[in-house]
């Protein structure tokens, strides 16, 4: 399943790159793209565990930049 999420207050380009690397290495993720310019996360992950993966991704995002919020 592929879904696009908005990232609010994503203020640093390097953070976006770090989030992308971290999320992409989660098990079950086929592809993750974080676009700093579009302030978006595109998550392509296994259908069965999508919600679990999304929750993990959200945690990783907070870890890199605590101000950044994922809008579902």
């Amino acid at each position: 399943m592929r879904k696009v999420f908005r990232l609010e207050d994503l203020d640093c380009a390097n953070c976006a790159a770090k989030m992308e690397t971290a999320i992409a290495s989660l098990p079950g993720v086929n592809k993750a793209t974080v676009s700093f310019m579009a302030q978006k996360l595109v998550l392509d992950a296994d259908d069965a565990s999508f919600d679990v993966i999304l929750a993990q991704a959200e945690k990783l995002i907070k870890k890199v930049d605590a101000d950044c919020r994922l809008v579902k």
Binding site: D9, F36, A38, V42, A66
Partner: protein, 620 residues
Amino acid sequence: MQMRRKQKKLLVRILVSGALLAGAYLTEKLTDLNAYVYLPMYLLPYFIAGYDVLLKSARNIGHGKLFDECFLMTVATVGALIIGEYPESVFVMVFYQTGELFQSLAVDKSRRSIADLMDMAPDRAVRVTQDGEEEILPEEVCPGDTLLLRPGDRIPVDGVVLSGTGAIDTSALTGESVPADVGPGDRITSGCINLTGVLRMEASAPYGESAVAKILELVENSSLHKSRSEHFITKFARWYTPAVVLGAALLAVIPSVITREPAVWCYRALIFLVVSCPCALVISIPLSFFGGIGGASAKGILIKGANYLEALADVKTAVFDKTGTLTDGRFTVTQICPAEGITEEALLHLAASAEYYSAHPLAVSIKEAAKEPPAVPDRVTEHAGFGLEAWLDGHTVLAGNVGLLTRESISVPETETAGTAVYIAEDGRYRGHITLGDLPKQNAAKTVRALKKAGVKRCVMLTGDREAAAKETAAALGLDEVRAQLLPADKVRIVEDLCAAQGKGEKLFFVGDGLNDAPVLSRADVGFAMGALGSDAAIEAADVVLMDDDPFKIVTALQIAKKTRRIVRENVVFALGIKLCVLLLAALGLTSMWIGVFADVGVAVLAILNALRCLKPPKT
């Protein structure tokens, strides 16, 4: 300038802490109070400017993230405080925050200017029902609804004009400034503006499937396809920061042990930490490509990703489809060859009269070319696959291919023609023939010339047409190669061969109308679909979509690609160059922390300003 709440707050903090810093500095210089008095005067602006940086870095240590920019900034400034460099420490923090504020303002500005360029989203629709008119959202329109368009209204969804005539402004979509005239039966595209008349239209698609929604989505998502440069730089950033931090650690420890001057070497190491953030690089590359894509879309060129814009700058082989791409895709009378005893005009009139009832494309073109109105034939018989036979004022006229005349055993002189010819005989006697061809578009030759000037080595045309017609077009346009009489599958194979024949790093683009060449479009490094206004298939299949059918847009796209790449390279060289210089100078003790913070934040700001130039398309 518009500011978000967060940005306003940061600005106030910077101004207040800047003023307090200046006050503290003057107090220190002008009075001889001891450090216990003025240290708090420095600490106050330090905390006002940097409390969030300090908090964030504290949190990051908890997560075990040591190479975070906040953490590095904290170590650098706290380190400077410990070795007694109070004003520098506070200044670094204030200036760092100024840079952060500026960065986020610049990024917001470029996002907004792209949103303005893409200002084509309709905000309302007026539906006409039996009970009258009602204003609804574009998303609420259903196919089949009748909508009213007043002058100045943006067309909310794709549809067909039912009644009324007027001019519509397509510039938001195509970049073309000349309005298009429309009348009943014409298809109109969402996102265009109705300029003059009052029109009634029937919606043919819901908003989500209309051109405007698709285009907006395409441009929004273009930054998700990242360029190779961006991937490279994010990888580089992952190594750069730890390397510089390690360098700082070594610089602080080893020479200190040898020279026994720890304060000197620690100060130099702290400068290392200040320049260790790779932000200038990491931010400027996607920003440049984003700007390039935005600038292109204002010209009616939609690029689906930074990777395609990047590849375009390396194009060395250009492959064109012929019909509809380089040529108009319509037949035009190119030559009239009368037999003895008849004039050109008379022959054309005769042919036009014989074809009076015919709707064949060749017949339509002949009728268009005839100056006098044609005579109405008494009777017409069609000979399928050959042409037709018409009775005009008691004369029998044949109009068709060579076969039609030879069947009636009329002798036809042998001719060599490039286009398609219509032969005419009257009362059993050959009267001449008319040649029709598909003429090159106005800008086609200019496009080929400009591409060659821009470094394209090989221009190839592919077509399903006959060899002679194809060669003539190719010669007129100055193309290097032409492959004729191809089937769609042949085109894919040829594009594959051409791709394989290229040197390393060289790219190939293919331009087609996007209707029946989707496989070729996807096989090429960059696939252009042309005249895509209103064609969903083309928007799906292509990497770059040209909204109208002017081939010169390809050259514009190439120029934008080259300009963007130049700016990206400038930024990489500039930012890295300055940082390396400052690292070197810092190691040698020839610079101060003031310069260090410039190399970090100042360079980022300059790189961003440079990247914003990408928004402006180059002059042609």
